[in-house]
Amino acid sequence: MSLITRSMVLWVPDWPILASLRVEPLRVEPLPANAASAGATDAPLALIEKGLVFACSAAARIEGVQRGLRVREAQARCTDLIVRPYEQQLDSRTFETVITAIEELMPGVQLVRPGIAAIRSRGPARYYGGEQPAGLALVALLESLGIPGARVGIADGPFTAEQAARTATSAYRVRVVPEGASAEFLGNLPVSLLEDPVLITLLRRLGISSLGEFAALPATDVLGRFGPDGAHLHALAGGLDSRPIVAHQPPDELDCVVAFEPPLDRVDQVTFGVRASADDFVQRLVASKLVCTTLRIEIETELGDYSERSWLHPRSFTASDVVDRVRWQLQGSGEVDSGLRSGVSAVRIVPEVVDAIGNHEVGLFGAGPDERIHNGLARVQSMLGHEGVLTAVVSGGRTLADRQKTVPWGDRPLLPRSNLLPWPGQLPLPLPATIFAAPHPVFVYGADGTDVVVDERGRFSSAPSRFSPATGKDPRQITAWAGPWPIAERWWDAEAALNASRFQVVDDRGVAWLLVLTRRATGSSWAAEARYD
């Protein structure tokens, strides 16, 4: 039996609920009747995943809420149920602090899943003078972290220990199963603890309802009938859990913090100060066989300003790329030697997304022409700033400005609207080859010399016969025209609303224009938005 590790398992009941409450406490109004007992944890709370209850608090369970209920059913059973979405990341993230605290007390903690941790019990038992005191020390630690109701089970193997923890009561929160007594302890427990629904159903139909009955079957027969997975569960049921406890490896600290004392107030000084650390940062990543593809840079100034931004890279960051990103974030659109508003006291470089270095290795004959293009464009970016070099995508929308979007070189395009939708009301082909970055205001006159006006219903005062820029110079005769094509978007949103009429006109030199009459609350105005040249 030397193969089986004597294990200690910590179990925190209803951990998802506790995690959710720790991150975002409930604001419970003190009711006059039970103001004294209205502790935050007593409120009926349920976490929902895919429309079903994933976890619920003790107060909700008393009302009849249980795991697997539909939200509506749960709310019918408990009318003042508070419903929150279940977030697995939040679960793991909050349990990470618990793991860190346990590691300070006892080394070699294995995270089984959020809410359950396993430790080899031999060391702590020797240190605290017995398994029972070691378990009590663990419970006391969790109490000090503000996590009530934790249970500890100590037995041969993590599976038995977990079952021992689950059967511990609130009065005796540490349950020790003596060495070699695992099979006896597990014998009366139901087979449903094995967490294999197909096997459980089958065992029940074979008339086997307890773990002891399952363990009594000959091991070779179980292996022949249920395969290696079944044999493993059979060993668990017999208390022969041979899984070792693998200590949790703390992730390497890859962040890089550069503090400036005294604070620096010039961009070039800061970037120079960051240079050595950026080298070090990239080398540390390489030593862990990683490359960084997304980076977060946080900058603190002495006045307490804080700026943070994520930077993407089409391949992976080199040291000089990191320094460039710091400089761009500092200077915004200013020049390299411009002064800052207040001195920079700290720069923090955090790798947000890392990837194995093997996926980013340059081929034996180089990475092809794209590598060269990327380097050349990165050089231009370091001259002009990150937004200086753009790539273009066609987005969804009706106006010309909505349909074309530019993305800084290296960033991923995010399209708020799909260009695959039909977008009725967009301009007919061919599209204008020149779209003015800022529309030019124009005057449009009818044959009688008065301004052309289009009302809400698309009726226009007279046919356009002449237009000129707002400066009045260089007027053009209109030889052909089409319109008005009305466009009315987002009338419910005063900020983004658009109510306009579009005209295509051809002037006497054969150049065609797109003229737009925009109606606003303050009045309407003509502008030339694009030219068909």
Binding site: R372, L377, L400, W409, A437, A463, Q504, R531, D533
Partner: protein, 247 residues
């Protein structure tokens, strides 16, 4: 290799009776230039066939400069630019557009320019020449709209760099008349179809594209659809007049 012979031959058959030395120098320079053009092992970019016939050498040359529009005409033609870019881009070349904030992206995509291989630098500011040179190092075709006239020395350096790297430069805008240009393309007599007096919409346009070359000679011009109703660029088919001998 064989050009050496023809050059000495040309040098010996120089007309000696020319009077003014300036005229002789002009004559010699134009002859040297035309021979250099044939001597250069200039590879051609895949150019749209409608335009290729007009361009000297039968297409866009790598390492050469081209200009669109002339200072006389107010509007340079962005569609003509797109027509020049469409051929190389469809064949897999990267295009860069420097200093053109008004570039119609969706029109470019609809004329067959691959947006994945299009790089825009809308506001290069004062560093436009350095940016153009840096981009010409890595991209096959670069379009530049100079904000002002560049000095002769800078242009000579830029054109040397282009020749070395084999990238093609297209200069647009009102400062596009660069002496180093291989050819100057301009557009005239534009007429739109499909639009009436309050009816229809723009569908197609016929223009006359004129190409004048650096080496002098008669400008070549052709009537072209830019674009035709199917968004293609094509020569206008003139109805052939068949003469038949009678009597």
């Amino acid at each position: 290799m064989f050009e050496y012979g023809s050059m000495t031959l040309a040098a010996t058959t120089l007309p000696e009776e020319s009077a003014a030395p300036a005229a002789i120098i002009d004559e010699l320079q134009s002859r040297i230039r035309s021979m250099q053009a044939t001597k250069l092992d200039s590879r051609l970019l895949p150019t749209h066939p409608a335009l290729a016939e007009l361009l000297p050498g039968g297409g866009l040359k790598q390492g050469a400069m081209y200009s669109i529009g002339s200072p006389a005409s107010v509007e340079s033609s962005a569609t003509l630019l797109l027509a020049l870019l469409a051929g190389p881009s469809a064949a897999g070349s990267w295009c860069g557009v420097v200093g053109v904030p008004d570039f119609g992206i969706e029109a470019a995509a609809s004329f067959g320019i691959d947006l994945d291989r299009l790089v825009l630098v809308p506001a290069p500011g004062d560093q436009w020449l350095a940016v153009t040179a840096a981009i010409a190092d890595v991209l096959t075709i670069v379009v530049i709209k100079p904000p002002r006239q560049a000095s002769e020395g800078n242009l000579a350096r830029l054109s040397a760099r282009l020749r070395q790297r084999g990238s093609t430069l297209i200069v647009v805008g009102s400062h596009s008349a660069w002496p180093q240009s291989e050819a100057m393309l301009s557009l005239s007599q534009s007429s739109w179809t499909g639009i009436g007096d309050g009816a229809g919409h723009l569908t197609a346009r016929q223009v006359t594209v004129t190409v004048s070359t650096r080496a002098g000679g008669r400008p070549r011009s052709a009537r072209m659809w830019l674009p035709d109703p199917e968004l293609r660029f094509a020569r206008v088919e003139t109805p052939q007049t068949h003469l038949r001998a009678v009597g």
